[in-house]
């Protein structure tokens, strides 16, 4: 049996807030197999972003273990790349230099990183915009740049933190299509966090439902619909309907 790419074992995490301790995650266990795409669905403030931060290594868990290919996570590293909701691109760099940032940090030579960045930009359809500044691009195009910046590093796992939440439906559909093409060709293991039920059903091989405060996984659902999927495909809608009930039950139980 293969080893899981990402594994959380009974992870808990609290935060100090002005109201005192807040339990953000309680006893969360999950496994993501190599090449698998797992979406985590939960309402705002349920600790989904905290979960990604732990896998990224931005913060340590209080209890439990976070493992990548069996090794405990200690600090942030380019083998676990986060794609942030707001992109977090660097405005002083042109598009291709943003994409090449991680390669530059690894000491890859200028010509080589330029070539790799251009290749990756092609996969997201932005090769003509390689010399643009970020404020000259639309929000959707910027998220494509962020996707290219992560994938050019060939991470062992891609961590996506509601990356399409600020996009209009049409732009988001385009990014869903591109993302599924890239999964088909590169097979990148992905942990995708969202509060959008249909998005979770559309993108995930498996959907985990999280309850709010303290965040814990309350339901799990496999999605067998064929890829590429569209957010309004019937099988996706059917899964979304049953997920909606599970999510509501979780929120009710927590309230």
């Amino acid at each position: 049996m293969t080893e899981p790419r990402v594994e959380l074992r009974q992870v808990s995490k609290t935060y100090d807030t002005q109201q005192g301790h807040t339990l953000a995650l309680r006893d969360v266990s999950l496994r993501v197999m190599p090449g698998e795409i797992v979406t985590i669905l939960g309402p705002s403030g349920c600790g989904k972003s905290t979960l990604l931060n732990l896998v990224a290594g931005f913060e340590p868990p209080e209890e439990g273990e976070v493992l990548i290919d069996g090794q405990p996570v200690e600090s942030p590293a380019p083998d676990r790349l986060v794609m942030f909701q707001e992109g977090a691109l660097f405005p002083w760099l042109r598009v291709h230099d943003n994409v090449a940032f991680g390669l530059r940090m690894q000491g890859v030579g200028k010509a080589e990183r330029r070539a790799q960045a251009m290749e990756q930009l092609k996969t997201v359809g932005l090769e003509q915009f390689s010399h643009h500044l970020l404020h000259e691009l639309s929000v959707g195009m910027r998220q494509r740049v962020a996707l290219a910046r992560a994938l050019v590093m060939h991470p062992r796992v891609l961590l996506m933190d509601e990356p399409f939440a600020a996009l209009d439906a049409q732009t988001r559909d385009g990014l869903h299509a591109t993302l599924q093409e890239l999964w088909a060709s590169a097979g990148t293991t992905t942990l995708f966090v969202t509060h959008n039920i249909r998005e979770a059903a559309c993108l995930g091989d498996r959907v985990l439902v999280m309850s709010p405060r303290p965040g814990t996984i309350v339901a799990e659902r496999e999605v067998h619909a064929e890829r590429p999927r569209h957010i309004e495909d019937d099988p996706v809608m059917q899964v979304a309907r049953s997920l909606r009930q599970e999510l509501h039950a979780a929120v009710e139980a927590a309230a």
């Binding site: 931005f58 942030p76 380019p78 002083w92 940032f101 991680g102 404020h135 639309s138 910046r149």
Partner: protein, 283 residues
């Protein structure tokens, strides 16, 4: 499925580029020149009407004549040269120290909570107030004046730099660390460029502080320089000379802003996409 190609321009390679002067810019410039002509014309007419004695309210042409006179005698050139040399030296030292101090305060919590409040307090102290201390420490010397200029510069730049670093979005640093930036690379490729718009503003403010403190210091103690020339005119009761030197001081300040600091600020803002998207060249 692509986003909107709103800006499908040809490839551009320049690092920092200024907007090109356009029609609106020339119009703006024209309006400014016209206004100055009216202002000086009105001044000239008012002074010549004879409501007040000319030695108290000289005409604009009297001031120009005094300017020409001091320029021909060499007094203006010597004073201007001395002042600009002191300014460049003092500002240069202040810039280096201010950037260093600002980076330290921006990156270390302890430095921020200790030096930070001191720097903020000292920034509020008019830097000419350092002159008595400087005169006691360094005697009646160039060093004393340079010291005052450095003190006028350093805290403005330090506070602006550390503020800019603190205002850098948290996710930028996370993203950079995630992509493998550590230590010096993080400083060079994230902290500094992210703070550059704020640093540019601090450099501009530091420059104007330096210029003010220099003139003030030269007025209190100096044997040469524009500040000294001002006091020299006062001793001769030569108001046209005083006003001529004031005009020169304003002109140097404006020139530095328009030719260097204003341009730097606009270029950085456009590149970073912050501030006014349509930031214009200062006219």
């Amino acid at each position: 499925m692509m986003g909107d190609p709103r800006h499908a321009q040809p490839l551009r390679r320049s690092t920092l580029r200024l907007p090109r002067p356009d029609r609106a810019w020339w119009k703006h410039l024209g309006a400014g020149v016209l206004f100055l002509l009216l202002l000086f014309g009105g001044w000239e007419a008012l002074a010549r009407m004879g409501f007040w004695p000319r030695y108290l309210v000289p005409a604009f042409t009297d001031v120009l004549r005094a300017l020409w006179g001091t320029a021909q005698s060499g007094g203006l050139v010597a004073g201007l040269a001395a002042s600009v040399m002191r300014l460049v030296l003092g500002y240069g030292i202040g810039l280096v120290l201010g950037l260093g101090l600002g980076l330290w305060m921006g990156r270390s919590r302890i430095a921020e909570s200790t030096l930070g409040s001191v720097a903020l307090g000292l920034q509020a102290l008019p830097s000419v107030a350092w002159l008595p201390l400087a005169l006691i420490w360094f005697g009646l010397s160039e060093t004393a004046i340079t010291f005052v200029v450095v003190m006028g510069t350093v805290f403005a730049i330090a506070v602006a730099t550390s503020t800019a670093i603190h205002q850098t979005p948290h996710t930028w640093e996370r993203a950079a660390r995630n992509l493998g930036a550590r230590g010096h690379a993080l400083l060079l490729h994230l902290t500094l460029p992210a703070a550059l718009p704020g640093i540019a503003m601090g450099m501009k403010q530091g420059w104007s502080f330096a210029w003010r403190s220099l003139i003030a210091a030269e007025m209190v103690y100096s044997t040469v320089g524009l500040g000294h020339l001002l006091m020299f005119g006062r001793e001769l009761n030569d108001l046209p000379l005083v006003m001529a030197v004031m005009l020169v001081i304003v002109a140097v300040g404006l020139a530095a802003d328009r030719l260097a600091f204003g341009r730097l600020e606009v270029a950085v803002q456009r590149r970073w996409g912050v501030g006014r998207r349509d930031a214009k060249l200062p006219a």
